[in-house]
Structures are given as C-alpha cells and as structure tokens.
Subunit: 227 residues, 2 copies
C-alpha cells in the first residue's frame, strides 16, 4: 500500500538545519496494523505527516498505492488524502466553535455525501467512540479525551483505506484507550491499513508490527508476538 525510499525531512531555522527525518525506507502492505514508537522528538509525527500526504519530503521517494506522491501538486495531494486517508492529529485539530457532529461531518462534505446520510454516518461513528450524548457539544465544551475521540471519529467516517493515528489514546484513560484500539482492530479486520503512533506499550500490543524511531531514523522493525 505504501512504500518509502530514503525519505528525509529537514527544517531550516535561520542558519541551523534540523534533520527531523533521515533516510527512512519502509514498506507497509494493505491490511497491516503497524505501531510507531520512539522518544519525544524522534521524528514520528514528521513520518506520519509525510505518509499521510500532509507534507512534502526534502528528499527520497514516497509511493502510495503505487503512485509517486512526490510528483503530485498540492491539489492532487489533497484530493488523494481526502478520499483515501483518515488522519488523527496529535493535537486533535478540531474546529473549536463547531459541534462534535459538524466536525465529524466535514470529511463527508468533501465527498459530497447527501446531508441526511452525512448526519447518520457521523452520528454512528460518534456512538462507536462513546460520545452518543455529546454530539451537539462544541469542541471547547468537551473534555480532552472527548475531543480526542471526536478527532478519531472524524478520521474514520469516510471509510478511508489508510488510517493514520498520531497518539490516539494520549488523553484517554486506560479503559477508553482499549475501547478505541478494539475499534481500530475491527476496522483493520475489515481490511483497512492502520498506522498508530503511541508511547504506551500496551497500546502497541494491538498492532502486528512495531517501527521504532530514534533521532529521525528507523532503527527497528519488529513483529509483535500475540499470545
């Protein structure tokens, strides 16, 4: 499904260069469930933004569904992303003065889904993440973990082929976090490819494979043993 070759991302800050990602080469097949781990600042979110078509690499190649994404212009990049990728941001990125329902309906509006179907689909995913009685709340009227769950619902409402979740359980208690991972497992059994950044090892255990980052490099790629 996706393949990177020597993918790198540098940031220029005045006279200083920050090598956020250094020559990362990895293949992920359709239907895999992958966890991404590593210390704070090691390049996990930078990696996710590149494979989620949200940012351009400084060098290296990125093939998504066989297409070389580095050749696309900004509009084609966004179109591919809106239809094929669901993204849960580390900082949630919800629209603040907007209800939970409207936040989740947003990706369906890109896809020109009729209004009634949009509302039904958005309500269904909000119930799946446990927010049935908070649908009308605005983001600023929700707790941290409730906002995070709205962000998860928004990422999956469009039935994307690839779900990228950056620390999706960071603000959730253990029980709610496990419920969300069980939801991701169900989506994965339906054939969706899932890549999750996490720093909690019991969350990583839901995946089949762990990619470990350090200082911008991919230093380990290991199978998860399931008892």
């Amino acid at each position: 499904l996706l393949e990177t070759a020597e993918l790198s991302k540098d940031y220029l800050m005045g006279s200083e260069v920050v090598n956020a990602l250094r020559e990362v080469s990895v293949q992920v097949k359709g239907g895999e469930f992958v966890a991404v781990m590593g210390p704070s600042g090691s390049g996990k979110s930078t990696f996710m933004n590149l494979i989620g078509c949200l940012d351009r690499p400084s060098s290296g190649r990125y093939l998504f569904e066989g297409r070389d994404m580095s050749q696309l212009n900004i509009d084609d990049l966004a179109r591919t992303r809106n239809h094929r990728v669901g993204f849960v941001f580390q900082n949630f990125s919800l629209l603040s003065r907007t209800s939970a329902l409207e936040n989740v309906e947003l990706p369906l509006m890109y896809g020109k889904v009729p209004r009634r179907d949009r509302k039904a689909k958005a309500t269904a995913v909000l119930e799946a993440v446990g927010l049935k009685d908070r649908i009308r709340h605005q983001s600023s009227q929700l707790s941290g973990g409730q906002q995070q769950r709205v962000a998860i619902a928004r990422a999956i409402v469009n039935d994307p082929a690839l779900i990228l979740a950056d620390e999706p359980t960071g603000a959730l208690d253990t029980f709610t976090g496990i419920e969300i991972m069980a939801l991701f497992q169900a989506l994965n059994r339906d054939g969706r490819t899932i890549v999750v950044v996490t720093h909690e090892s019991d969350i990583a255990q839901f995946a089949d494979r762990i990619l470990r980052f350090r200082d911008g490099r991919l230093i380990k790629d290991e199978r998860v043993e399931h008892p």
Copy 2:
C-alpha cells in the same frame, strides 16, 4: 494548603445541565504529592481548573492557603494564581508564534523579574526538561512532547507553592515521562505541593496519594504504597 467543601461545577447547554463536578470535598496539605485519576469526562480537568483558581465553582467552598477563593473578584483570583500556582494545561496552551524561551519567561514578566534574571531562569528550567537545544524554536516548530515540556517549564519557572499538572506526560514517551516525574519529585522534596492528573498508573506511582474520580464525583482517596 487547599480544602474544598461540596465543590460543584455545572455547565448550562441550552436546556441541558451538565454536572461536570458534584459535591467534591477534599483536603490537601502543603508538601503533598497527589495523583488524580478517572475515566475520560469524569471531571478531573474541571476539578483542576477550580483548585487552580482558573474558574469559579457553581456551588460549594474552596479555601486556598486559608483564604476563601469564592469570595475573591476576578483580579484578585488572577493575582493569587500568578504568584502561587503553576499550571500545566492538558492542551499545553502555548503562544504559537513565540519561542520556547519567551513562553517560559511569561510568568516572570508578571512578577516584574529583571530581564537578565528572567532569561537565565527560563533557560535553566528548559534545560531541566531536556530542551536545551530547542530554546529558540517557536511552538509550531516543536514536536508534541517538546511543546508539552515547554508548558511544564513555564509552570515551574516562578517557583510556585502549588503545581497543578493536567496529564503532563500524555505526549511523552515512557523514558521522558519518567524524567519529568523525577523532576516533579525533586520539586516536591523542596516543599512544593504537586497535584497531577494522569491516566497512566506507573506515573501515578510517583505520588503519595491517588484521588479517583467518576462521573463528577470523588469516589476514592487512597495512599500509594512505595516499596
């Protein structure tokens, strides 16, 4: 140091009332290290905002250092808070187009600390949280966990009597999270009172006491056994 009596917080949403906090009564002595736990939406942040003098209760009393905070006007509330309380917000609340150093200097500007001392003090706490080589970075140029550590540095720079940290390790890998908790322990040994919201039990083990919330109520108050 702080005492609440039947503290409650209700939110009015149209015709619906959300009881975020229900009659919470608790005492915390100076120098204690307390962890606050509970499911997503159970009232932890609401409790922290009330004891941190950031919000007013709907009913009940709150005594901070012997003073009844519910009697104070907004300005006195803010003045007490700026001098006595350090707050790590669940969403970090950093100024985005501002460097890490300037974000951490902000509380010292309230206290009219001279510029050179401000810069030295802010640099020292940023080094203590492991961000020595990111001091000039703006918040938007930092990773999630790096932003969280800037928020922690900002909360402790003023040597406050009370440090309230809402999920301070949510975006941090395990190793960095333990470094931060060791920093809090050192501050606690200096006599500062620390209250930390967390959903990770190995983080809660650094505290002496755990307050457990559920559906807006304080349902358990237990000592932590240290081997």
